[in-house]
């Protein structure tokens, strides 16, 4: 084997110069390839690190914060849950099935390498216009099928998610996956190599040529040649992953695993250098020991290959046999590839000959890039966009809103996912605003992922904070107390100051809002270069926020379906004329612009606290947060899921001089709908008084959803018609109904 003389390097001239300066010598080809992989935007966060510092990361329940493969939160009685979010956008854009499946594979490993069992998956997906674009339908169909095939086979339920459609994702779809893990606090394992003499054992799939240059591929924009780069997409193997999950947890139970890391982006290079760096040690690596899929792989390929389903275990010296017996039980290939040293270098050898010798401090810590940020011109331009006229008849408008793919039922998606395996899923997809799992200590965990690229495009600061606010409202709606969140920040090329401005505004928004709520960020991911130069289009700024909350008692678990005819319907929070980025403006009127909703952390918190208290006192029967499509859509959803109608007097909605379409469809934050019966309505109103704006807007009735202003009837639609528009819309788009 020889080191090839010619490799592709994405590093800039300055970065190569900096590497040379830090090393005090010229790096050889292998060393350069290793630095190239680890200093990629994907692995190093070199553009985002300085901004991400703004986010709060501490809290009484935080066991592990950002900087590891997943964050960990104490859920009581000696148990922790781990949480992480990943995307696989570039791979999914060119190979939707394999890209999405390996995205699941990657996030599962992140949870597993903390020593925790993956117990749930969520997905947050963004595509172009599936009503018109065959390409977007192709991406959508195969992304969902990739997630379904991988998640189902590996035996981890996919329990929640969200899907948004917007032209900006036509080629560059976004595939975010969230994974939740569970273990005893004492079983947590960190990605650290800190005991010299310990062995590094590579377990799982053999190393091959798939996923070569995956991280550098992900760290640049999509071009017309991208379809030819399918070799940068890894090959999924959920069966191997299932064996790895069981073997890893059994290996940890031996008590001799002292460090654990999955091999994802950057392959062996990133895995070993990051573990050595965190543990303050070095690692001697013998490359000839790595089990290969093809014999003639050269060292550069071995060091940066992103072949899937691989883990590196750091095993206590002298106990290698105990751990390897577990791998043998599962017939998993493994090889002892190196040893932890007290030096600070990652030394790569083949049969004793040094091929690379790099200080891990240098490899694992790319120089920070301070990027310029300039407010884009479009932001001001969009604010001045004029209001569209009010349609004469709002009945067909409401039905069209319900059939809008971003709003319509996502049954087509989640019925393809096993959301039951593990028998923990108490509130299932489509039944509540968040999904709820039971925990072994008798309490419950609520989880949800949210995003809104339309809001974030018009106002990245408020839009990003709004995504977090929505995720929290969803948790509160099912009866939970929000505990923590992770964020996935997806933007275009950070070298473009206008893109970078939207990124830093979004982080600032998230940071301010999470501080106001006292909610820690325990991890996340940044994905830049979501641009497609063929259509000269960057995606809209698209943070996806996954949040978790705790429900102490079973009786607090609340769903959104209307329960009893005759009960009152109460809206919490004031409705404002904030129509910018609403589905109503964009889907009905084709208008992009106007004022997007703004977060008001004081009012938002007051609304959440009141709803939480109402649930805990047992005085509300159903709760639903208001988001895409506003009040009218939320009411329709409560009607459809309960199989009951409602009679609404929208003059009772707290709002100042709003148009009827604004009252119905505004996406103002900080609002909820509650169902309360006659016996408890006064107690509820008393609880709300002086804390939040609210209005008793109507009653649950049989048969149809009616809106009136006082005595004046505006519209009336039967539940069957609502259901017909909402239930099968996506199947219709996909040509299946």
């Amino acid at each position: 084997m020889v080191v090839q003389n010619f490799i592709f390097v994405e590093l800039t001239e300055e970065e190569i110069k900096e590497a040379r300066r830090m090393l005090g010598r010229e790096p050889n080809t292998l060393e350069l390839a290793m630095i190239d992989a680890e200093w990629s935007e994907h692995c190093s966060y070199k553009s985002s690190k300085s901004i991400l510092k703004l986010l709060p990361t501490k809290g009484p329940r935080v066991v592990i914060g950002p900087g590891y493969d997943a964050g960990a939160i104490d859920v009581g009685d000696g148990y922790v849950v781990t949480l992480h979010i990943e995307s696989h956008n570039h791979p999914s854009a060119i190979d939707p099935y394999g890209g999405a499946a390996t995205g699941i594979g990657g996030v599962l490993r992140d949870i597993l390498c903390m020593g925790t069992r993956p117990i749930a998956l969520l997905d947050s997906l963004r595509f172009g216009n599936i009503e018109e674009s065959a390409h977007s339908r192709w991406l959508f169909r195969h992304v969902v099928s990739g997630i379904s095939d991988y998640g189902n086979c590996v035996g981890v339920p996919t329990i929640a998610g969200e899907v948004e459609f917007d032209d900006c994702f036509e080629r560059n779809c976004l595939v975010d996956v969230v994974c939740l893990g569970l273990s005893k606090i004492n079983d947590l394992v960190l990605a650290e190599a800190k005991h010299p003499g310990d062995s590094a054992i590579l377990v799982g799939g053999s190393t091959g040529r798939d996923g070569i240059h995956g991280v550098t591929f992900a760290s640049r924009v999509l071009t017309e040649k991208s379809d030819k780069e399918r070799s940068a997409v890894q090959i999924p193997d959920p069966f191997m992953k299932k064996l790895i999950i069981e073997a890893t947890l059994e290996a940890i139970a031996t008590g001799h695993v002292r460090g654990l890391k999955d091999l994802g982006g950057g392959g062996i290079t990133c895995g070993l250098s990051e573990m050595a760096d965190k543990g303050g040690c070095g690692i001697d690596l013998e490359l000839s020991k790595v089990h290969l899929r093809e014999k003639d792989l050269d060292p550069v390929e071995i060091m940066i290959s992103e072949s899937q389903e691989r883990m590196v275990f750091i095993v206590e010296k002298g106990h290698e046999r105990d751990v390897c017996e577990v791998f043998e039980k599962y017939e998993l290939p493994y090889s002892i590839i190196g040893r932890v040293t007290d030096g600070g270098n990652l030394i790569v050898r083949i049969k004793g000959v040094d091929l690379a010798n790099l200080p891990v401090k240098i490899v694992a810590n790319a120089p920070i890039i301070l990027r310029k940020a300039i407010e884009p011109d479009y932001i001001k331009r969009l604010k001045t966009v004029g209001d569209p006229g009010i349609p004469k008849d709002l009945s067909p408008v409401l039905l069209k809103m319900l059939s809008c793919p971003s709003i319509a039922s996502k049954g087509w998606v989640y019925e393809q996912y096993d959301h039951e395996v593990g028998i923990r899923t108490v509130v299932k997809p489509g039944k509540g605003d968040a999904s709820v799992l039971r925990l072994p200590n008798g309490s419950f965990l609520a989880i949800k992922v949210d995003g809104n690229s339309k809001h974030c495009y018009i106002d990245p600061y408020n839009g990003a904070a709004g995504c977090l606010a929505e995720a929290c409202r969803n948790l509160v709606s099912v009866g939970a107390e929000p505990l923590a969140f992770v964020d996935h920040l997806q933007f275009g090329d950070p070298g473009n100051p206008e893109v970078f401005w939207t990124f830093s505004e979004a982080v600032r928004g998230l940071s301010d809002f999470s501080k106001a709520l006292g909610l820690p960020c325990i991890g996340g991911k940044v994905s830049f270069y979501n641009e497609d130069i063929v259509q000269k289009m960057a995606i809209k700024p698209s943070p996806a926020i996954a949040a978790i909350g705790r429900i102490e008692r079973q009786e607090w678990i609340t769903t959104m379906n209307f329960k009893h005819e005759g009960d009152y319907i109460v809206i919490v929070g004031e409705t404002k004329s904030e129509m910018g980025g609403s589905e109503y403006y964009e889907y009905i009127h084709g208008v992009v612009g106007g004022n997007a909703p703004k977060v008001n952390s004081i009012k938002e918190k007051a609304a959440m606290d009141s709803v939480k208290e109402a649930i805990r006192r047992g005085i509300v029967k159903s709760v639903h947060d208001l988001s895409k499509g506003g009040m009218a859509v939320a009411l329709a959803e409560m009607c459809m899921s309960g199989g009951m109608g409602a009679s609404i007097d929208y003059s009772k909605v707290p709002a100042e001089n709003l148009r009827v379409d604004e009252i119905l469809f505004s996406e103002t934050y900080g609002r909820f709908l509650l169902e309360v019966d006659n016996a408890h309505v006064n107690e509820l109103l008393e609880l709300m008084r002086k804390r939040v704006s609210f209005g008793v807007i109507g009653k649950i009735e049989e048969g149809s959803l009616d809106f009136s202003f006082g005595d004046k009837r505006l519209l009336s639609i039967s539940i069957e018609d609502l259901k017909d528009a909402w239930t099968n819309s996506i199947s219709r788009c996909m040509g299946e109904v």
């Binding site: 379904s148 189902n152 086979c153 039980k329 989640y414 393809q416 039951e420 028998i423």
Partner: protein, 235 residues
């Protein structure tokens, strides 16, 4: 004390769930048994759990059907012990020749996970002793290859011998195209052998045994396990 073995194939993923329900809900002893075991002596029943044995490679259930433990499972079936195959376990029993028919890809060509209504067609099997014919049960399904198929001519014979155990129906017990989630012939969801001690079904009784996990607050899945336990204790 009676003991139930739950077989773990590489890729099984409802193994822990099934053991949990038997141990903690049904309060009987159940052990996980690795697929390489060649000895099931001492067990009074065997369950092949759901999941993706061998990643569904080649064909769902076929590789597991040839694994060492299956010789023992066959012996237990012949000796009249209860043998239950759930989902992938059903696929394995069919591939192993312990049950008739075939399980084809769903007619939608998609994986489907949802709660369904099941009508009890026959209570002949040891797993349905406590059910009445005509009862409608609620359980979830989750599969890609669950479309039960058998030649029409053979079907009559299986009806005559009361081997057709469960059917997908609406909540009133009526078979229709809408109530059939995967295109199974006659909506068949579960079938047993002539002796009634071997049952395969696509729905998951272990996911339907605790009211907390059911959208209907039901626990119909328990009836399958309690029928089996009652039979075992009388044996």
């Amino acid at each position: 004390m009676m003991k139930i073995s739950v077989i773990q194939f590489p890729g099984s993923n409802c193994d822990f769930d099934t053991v949990h329900v038997l141990n903690n809900v049904m309060k009987v002893r159940a052990d996980l048994v690795w697929y390489k075991s060649e000895d099931l002596r001492g067990y009074d029943a065997v369950i092949l759990p759901g999941g993706f044995s061998y990643g569904d490679r080649l064909r769902a259930g076929i590789i597991a059907a040839y694994s060492p433990v299956m010789r023992e499972v066959k012996k237990m079936a012949e000796d009249g012990y209860p043998v239950l195959g759930i989902c992938n376990g059903f696929q394995i029993l069919v591939e192993a020749g312990l049950l008739p028919g075939a399980l084809l890809r769903n007619s939608s060509l998609k994986f489907v996970c949802k709660w369904v209504n099941l009508s009890v067609v026959s209570n002949k099997s040891v797993f349905t002793k406590k059910l009445r014919e005509g009862d409608v049960l609620k359980m979830p399904i989750a599969h890609n290859e669950g479309r039960y198929f058998i030649e029409e001519s053979d079907l009559k014979e299986y009806y005559r011998k009361r081997q057709v155990v469960l059917k997908y129906t609406d909540d009133k017990g009526r078979v229709s195209e809408l109530s059939n989630p995967n295109g199974s012939i006659d909506g068949i969801a579960g079938i047993c052998n002539d002796e009634g001690n071997v049952l395969g079904l696509m729905p998951h009784p272990e996911r339907a045994s605790e009211g907390l996990l059911s959208p209907f607050n039901s626990d119909d899945g328990r009836l399958v396990f309690s029928s089996m336990i009652e039979y075992m204790s009388g044996r």
